[in-house]
Amino acid sequence: MYRYDEFDHRFVAERVEQFRDQTLRRLNGDLSEDEFKPLRLMNGLYLQLHAYMLRVAIPYGTLNSRQMLRLADISERYDRGYGHFTTRQNIQFNWIALADAPEILAELAAVEMHAIQTSGNCIRNVTTDHWAGAAADELADPRPVAELLRQWSSLHPEFTFLPRKFKIAVTGSPHDRAATRVHDIGLRLHLNDEGERGWEVVVGGGLGRTPMIGVTVREFLPEDELLGYLEAVMRVYNLIGRRDNKYKARIKILVHELGAEAFRAEVEAEYARQTAALNGIDNAELERIAQYFAPPPFEKLPRWSPAYQSHRAGNAAFARWSRSNVAAHARDGYAIVDVSLKPEGGIPGDATARQMRAVADLAQRYSFDEVRVSHHQNLVLPHVRRDDLFAVWERLVAEGLDAANVGQAGDIIACPGLDYCSLATARSIPIAQGISRRFADLNRQADIGPLRINISGCINACGHHHVGHIGILGLEKKGVEFYQITLGGSSASEASIGTIIGPGFAGDEVPDAVEKIVTTYLALRQEGETFLAACRRLGAEPFKEALYATHH
């Protein structure tokens, strides 16, 4: 993975000093809150319901054990002993003091981490496939480009005060595990008819108040034109994106209001105007970065691991876990391990300091010192020898990280909601817990098959409920929380926004409602048909009937 050189070190160190100075000026009143707020947001520090919240960047969801250990350490010394992994591959600490923030950033910088631009109207963490560099279906590892974009977007002088936040996602696989079609810019690597590699550039996807699937602005952009083209997109947005209404300021609104054709024309006109300012320096830099992402020194192993197979045969719990949490690796004899942060009845995405340390240890011993964070709020050990899977699982069991539910009903994605977030209208975590308990039976989860349940505690949709197979949106009327259910959303390659199926439910009615939906699916599904496929085939009617025919 990427390693800082002297320039990267100097950059974060100076940034830390700049923020330290800004914080001092705020504390002594030289800066007002209005002036300080955009500056502290650019360093990932929010004022939330209970305290300041610090969102630390985990660039493209990749970190090593040293970094994970530092996060564990920070959680104990500056927070309440835990952190929350987010739907954008970052980590959040909820109990931070402003006065401590500069020191925390300094400690992060020492392990090549930062919280730069994890908030604010600027380019946020560039996210990618959590199986990058390991998945068998990958055309190429997207992380070198993600790292290039990270540097390119860091304190970009032109794009620091955009109309609104800006999120970019990159996939190097035709199976989109990075939700690129619901990002402000989504990039998909693919081959043209001549077999050359290039990018599909999708612009204007997004969730929130007005969910939209992005528009393909360029079907095939040659690799070496990427940064120039992205600058053109950003410049058009910065110049003519709406600034009159915070809720209409994302690029998706601009694309929608101009229309795809007119938007594309603006971008192409701007792109044509560009002088060769970068002179190939960006491509030289990409080559340099790519060297850090050379594959680890894999052993030459047979595809079949007798040890692994024997453990599966002898241990039902291990077998079950291996079916849901272990995925195929590009290399023979290796596997990708998804570590579930969704224990039964637990808080989705939360990990204690102890759990973080355990994962760091496992990464070091068994995964070439690499961990990933997925936007489903789980962790990944990307390169585990099949021979070692049983040992890894045993350790996960000891740490409460063994929930065998990845991609299934228990693997619920939920934003922090009203329990933590000052923007929320309703709580999301108790809803997740209720559903998790209702579907605790792992055999039942396995029988149901792939099922994405996403919960957002407000219309800002940080829980990505619009792209849940079952989406749940927390609302509020007269101080009472209630929940609206959507069906049939997806963030994968055939992305879709879920449709609202009817009036909302009280919090304690939601697990029943989800159960009715699942039961309906099980009754009507065809041989081998997944929940999502059944939704698309059947439409909302059968589910509406099941939910509302005798309801109220």
């Binding site: 705020r26 004022l47 209970h50 329990d419």
Partner: protein, 107 residues
């Protein structure tokens, strides 16, 4: 007979620490909601807000705002669930409870 009032208190976040505080009857900022000064009349409400603006200008707190509460036998409870959670801490982490009154959530 129990005395029940409905009024407003002023809450804010400590600038340095970020923790939730309430403007208390003695004019200081307290992290105990039951010490909060409850304003029952518009004049008193305006006075609370003025104190809040002063404290913000003095860089002691930030983000001061009014919260509707009920005061019953000297115990102050916010009306809205969001404000109750802000007082007690996350409902899903009673171990982190800021004020030992989980009953506030059922109010």
């Amino acid at each position: 007979m129990a005395s029940i009032d409905r009024g407003k208190i002023l809450t804010a976040s400590q600038l340095r620490g970020g923790t939730v505080v309430f403007l208390a009857r003695n004019g200081r900022w307290s992290d105990h909601i039951h010490e909060a000064a409850v304003a029952l009349e518009p004049v008193a409400v305006e006075a609370l807000q003025a104190r809040g603006r002063e404290a913000e200008a003095a860089n002691i707190v930030t983000g001061a705002y009014l919260v509707e509460v009920e005061r019953r036998d000297g115990r102050v409870t916010p009306i809205h669930i969001r404000e109750r959670i802000r007082v007690t801490g996350p409902s899903v982490r009673p171990d982190l409870a800021l004020q030992p009154s989980p009953a506030l959530l059922e109010a």
